[in-house]
């Protein structure tokens, strides 16, 4: 047990890798074996992340479960990992979502072995980002996650998958190149790549890089990071890769993509930009907030106009992530202000992080549900559906439940996070918040539109003999729903952990 606790983070990150390798060793044709093996292997990091949640001590400051091992001393990069409240929440989310996504993937018939192996590798990449406390390690895992996702979309995706996967890859990589250069610049200026080490010296640095003043270096680094993360979140106008990628990806791929990968970008803001570039971020907080607003409103508006069910949810992700970004912008804005104003920032940041978690839950659920209906009807066109409530009442219930969470019905999780963001943003960016509320309206509109098209109305004669959700599918979505209501009704268990960390960060 001690061993587990001492190396908890390393285990969380690398057990998916072990699982992936084991999958590759199993016989290729035995699909049930592969599927269940993958599911069981994914339960290990899930269990570990839940364990982490319970042993993490929220009141204690700093990073916990830190591990440092020299990795590439030549360039002063070491394997340095550790967690705080935000990472723990994200890890929990990833740990929970992955097995559920694998359950949903049981319906994949082609090349199951490769699929499952890639999926577990993807999990490793994501976990690695959340625990990394060294910029190089951060980058390594960040990039590493790109490849399995690319293949998942490219090989098991929809009709337009080549274009979508290619766009996804190139967009993200383009951002990454900038980030890599910024990391190098930071490492050179600070003398180390270790986040904690940089954090110590960074504010006091006076000497820049070969003639450039330190402020210029910091600004350039800030923009490079901003760009990389903005593409990932995505922040308007760097979001254009998202609708295609989400739509063309296989169901589980979309679940993970929307559920976690987008959060990587937001996480980057919190882990790197906010602590190291607070002044630069503050200077640009207003433009960022405006971009967030555009995401919220335009994303929702675009959602409203969609015919494709999956694209509708994809655009809704843009909109919801806009809310996250708004919260982050608020937190940035209040730097150095008085106590009361800072409180707004803390609240908004709490909301942002909670929204990250929540969105992970309900967008994953929604994508799963889209997948369920797509497998039965082989169409994603909203106009083709109709009256499915009659044929699939359980499905309908789940769909409505998740949609309500998405649009922020009080009592469900979405409401809590959106409320917090709005509450925090209002005093700081009143105009923006006000317009943002429009987005919330639109969010209700498109959600109801979707529900109406899919579930209500006369039952389309094509679908009279559709099968109800299976046990497996239900099992995959039910935990998410449970969490949605749990957070909606009693958010403290999650919020407290987040809050303490956020307060230390911003307060």
């Amino acid at each position: 047990m001690d061993f587990i606790l001492n190396n908890l983070l390393t285990l969380i990150v690398f057990t998916p890798l072990v699982g992936s390798v084991l999958i590759m060793l199993l016989p290729r044709e035995n699909k049930p074996l592969l599927r269940w093996a993958a599911f069981v292997f994914s339960l290990v990091p899930a269990a570990l992340s839940i364990l982490l949640w319970f042993v993490y001590q929220p009141d204690v400051g700093g990073f916990q479960f830190e591990v440092y091992a020299p990795w590439f001393p030549t360039i002063n990069a070491g394997y340095h990992v550790g967690v705080d409240g935000i990472s723990v929440a994200m890890i929990l989310l990833t740990g929970i979502l992955t097995p559920l996504a694998i359950l949903i993937s049981f319906s994949i018939e082609e090349r199951v072995q490769a699929y499952m192996a890639l999926f577990l590798l993807l999990e490793m990449g994501m976990m690695g980002v959340f625990v990394a406390l060294d910029l190089i390690i951060f980058f390594v895992f960040w990039e590493f996650g790109l490849v399995p996702m690319y293949f998942l979309i490219n090989q098991w995706g929809g009709a337009d998958r080549h274009y979508a996967s290619f766009k996804f890859f190139i967009y993200t990589m383009a951002g990454s190149v900038g980030m890599l250069l910024a990391i190098q610049a930071m490492g050179l200026t600070a003398g180390t790549f270790d986040l904690l080490g940089i954090a110590q010296v960074w504010p006091n640095l006076t000497v820049g890089l070969f003639g450039l003043p330190i402020t210029t270096v910091k600004t350039i680094a800030f923009w490079a990071f901003f760009l990389a993360f903005a593409i990932k979140v995505p922040i308007w106008p760097f979001h254009t890769w998202l609708p295609d990628a989400h739509t063309e990806a296989p169901t589980a791929g979309s679940m993970i993509l929307a559920g976690i990968l987008l959060k990587l970008g937001a996480y980057g803001f919190l882990r790197i930009i906010q602590p190291l570039f607070p002044h630069e971020f503050q200077a640009f907080a207003l433009p960022v907030a405006i971009l967030a607003l555009l995401a919220i409103v335009l994303g929702a508006y675009a959602s409203l106009g969609q015919r494709d069910f999956k694209k509708l949810i994809a655009y809704s992700s843009v909109s919801h992530m806009g809310m996250v970004v708004l919260g982050l912008a608020v937190a940035a804005r209040v730097l150095g202000a008085d106590e009361a104003t800072r409180l707004n920032g803390i609240i908004a940041a709490n909301g942002a992080v909670l929204q990250m978690f929540n969105h992970g839950l309900y967008s994953a659920a929604l994508f799963a549900l889209v997948g369920v209906v797509y497998e039965r009807t082989h169409t994603r066109n909203l106009d083709d559906y109709g009256g499915l409530w009659v044929a699939l009442p359980v499905y309908g219930g789940m769909l409505i439940f998740s949609s309500m969470a998405s649009l922020g019905l009080p009592g469900l999780n979405g409401f809590v996070s959106e409320f917090l963001v709005v509450r925090g943003a209002w005093p700081v960016f009143p105009a923006i918040t006000f317009i943002g509320l429009l987005g919330l309206l639109l969010s209700a509109a498109y959600s109801l539109k979707a529900i109406q098209k899919v579930l209500h109305g006369p039952l389309n004669p094509h679908w009279t003999h559709l099968k109800e959700v299976t046990w497996r599918e239900a099992l995959a979505i039910a935990p998410l729903m449970l969490l949605m209501i749990a957070i909606g009704v009693w958010p403290r268990w999650l919020l407290d952990v987040i809050n303490l960390t956020v307060t230390r960060m911003i307060g």
Binding site: P70, W71, F72, P73, T74, I75, I136, F139, V140, F141, W142, E143, F144, L146, V147, N154, Q155, H162, F166, F169, I170, M173, A174, V177, L180, L181, Q184, A185, G187, L188, L209, F210, G211
Partner: protein, 502 residues
């Protein structure tokens, strides 16, 4: 007792001895020929890896040295040794030679002569890496050139092989003449305390040539070897040579021979003429960047699968030159790692290209497709190689390119535009590389399998073993770079001290 065994000479001459042995076998016994070749190559690979681990990093310097006088009147001795700089390259040669033999298993046309010339080539290559006597270095270098000519000319791609072989041979010979002139200049300018001239590179490093002398002779010496390294604009022989050569020869060629050029340029040019290096390397950097960017762009527009890889090699070797030109610890370690990583990666690429070509008999990308169905392992291996090529973290490409870029940043103290160069190289090189790699992978391995290829066989066991070995090193180095980075660091330190770099 163990120190008495001349490990280095065994490694260098085993291939030659094998070549002689092979010529004594009757040509019809093809299986025996292949098995003997594989065993011999395996022995050299194993020995080189053992040597790698036997090297004492704490002690540093040259180890396992052997020295005998050869032509004392001219100050020539058989002087060999390994240090942190050439030991990884020795290992690389062993690996590529062995995997090269494995993927050549299917050669039906006179395998005996093929492996004979192949092993002569391998001896020459090993010899260059371990030589600490300048004459010996040139001796082995020339020894390596002519088997290339025959290997490409006889077993190469019929369409261009004669032209490519002649072009390659002439370019390399002319290049070596230039370097030879520079080397001889050093030879004649320095008189030992005993009053003779010497080719001993360790002594010449202490010779104390005047700065003007060094500046004068640096360019011919360095550039002569840089031709072999594929430095733009002297890279012209490389794409044709790579493409025309048979698979194992391409592997050795791009994987090892180009490193020979870079290594020799370093060993003879930079280390012996540091003042010249300091003056001119900043300009070499510009050529290196052209390599990186130009190579990548040209690779993107190629129709022939092998030409894509050929130009990709030109591009990646630019990074090696860039690394060395930074003249600091990061850049050199990165360049050393890149030489190894790129060597393995490009050997893997050419091996896979060969596998595809042997079965499909075309290399025209638009006509290929769906190969993943017929050779899934080859596809996976190629994809991993591709990821290395793009510098994807988790693989050896990343851990070698990163220090090079960091080194370039650090070299801002030499010239303010060094970091700019690094940025340009990264910004253009990496995404373009990603683009052409993905294009090739997508077109050749995925997509529709053209009907005429419905019945092509999969890859053989030997092919799989070769690919597995190569992939192992690519991933291993990516995950645990220290295993080689530390050794290279030990190796470059004394030279950097002499250069006055950091």
């Amino acid at each position: 007792m163990l120190e008495q065994i001349p490990f280095i000479s065994i490694i260098v001459f085993t291939p030659l001895v094998t070549a002689v042995l092979l010529m004594l076998l009757p040509p019809e016994r093809k299986t025996a020929i292949r098995v003997i070749s594989a065993i011999a190559a395996f022995i050299t690979m194993a020995l080189s890896i053992c040597l790698f681990f036997a090297y004492n990093q704490a002690q540093g310097g040259y180890q396992f040295t052997e020295r005998t006088d050869w032509i004392p009147q001219l100050g020539i001795s058989y002087f060999v040794g390994v240090d942190g700089l050439n030991l990884p390259l020795v290992v690389l040669t062993g690996i590529v030679a062995f995997t090269g033999v494995l993927v050549s298993w299917g050669i039906e046309d006179r395998p005996r002569e093929f492996f004979t010339f192949f092993f002569i080539l391998v001896t020459g290559v090993f010899g260059v890496f371990v030589s600490l006597d300048m004459f010996l270095l040139f001796f082995f270098y020339e020894l390596a050139v002519f088997p290339m000519y025959l290997l490409i000319g006889i077993w190469g791609w019929p369409v261009t092989r004669e032209y490519a072989a002649m072009k390659l041979t002439l370019y390399l010979l002319v290049g070596s003449v230039f370097s030879l002139v520079g080397a001889l200049a050093m030879y004649f300018s320095y008189t030992t305390p005993q009053g003779t001239h010497t080719f001993d590179m360790l002594e010449l490093a202490r010779a104390g040539f005047s700065p003007d002398f060094q500046r004068l002779w640096f360019l011919p010496t360095f550039l002569g070897f840089a031709v072999l390294a594929g430095l733009w604009p002297f890279h012209n022989w490389s794409p044709d040579g790579h493409v025309a050569a048979p698979t194992a020869v391409s592997m050795l060629h791009a994987g090892v021979l180009m490193k020979l050029g870079a290594y020799s340029a370093l060993r003879v040019g930079v280390i012996l003429l540091p003042e010249g290096a300091k003056t001119f390397l900043p300009f070499i950097v510009m050529l290196a960047v052209v390599n990186v960017v130009y190579g990548a762009f040209i690779a993107m527009i190629q129709r022939d699968f092998k030409y894509v890889i050929g130009f990709s090699s030109v591009s990646h070797m630019g990074l090696v030159s860039l690394g060395f030109a930074t003249m600091n610890h990061y850049g050199w370690v990165g360049a050393g790692l890149q030489m190894f990583s790129h060597g393995i990666m490009t050997a893997l690429f050419f091996a896979v290209v060969g596998m595809v070509y042997d079965r499909a008999h075309i290399r025209d990308i638009p006509q290929l497709g769906g190969m993943v169905r017929k050779m899934p392992w080859a596809a996976v291996a190629f994809i991993i190689g591709g990821l290395v090529s793009m510098g994807m973290p988790g693989f050896s490409g990343f851990v070698s390119e990163l220090p090079i870029f960091i080194g370039a940043w650090r070299a801002g103290s030499i010239a303010a535009w060094y970091p700019v160069i690094a940025v340009v190289a990264a910004l253009f090189g990496i995404p373009v590389t990603a683009a052409y790699i993905m294009r090739v992978v997508g077109r050749v391995f995925f997509g529709e399998l053209p009907p005429q290829f419905a019945h092509i066989p999969g890859i053989t066991v030997q092919d799989k073993i070769a690919l597995a070995i190569l992939v192992f090193f690519l991933i291993g180095l990516g995950v645990y770079p220290r295993i080689m980075a530390d050794l290279i660091g030990v190796g470059v330190r004394p030279f950097l001290a002499a250069l006055g770099g950091a």
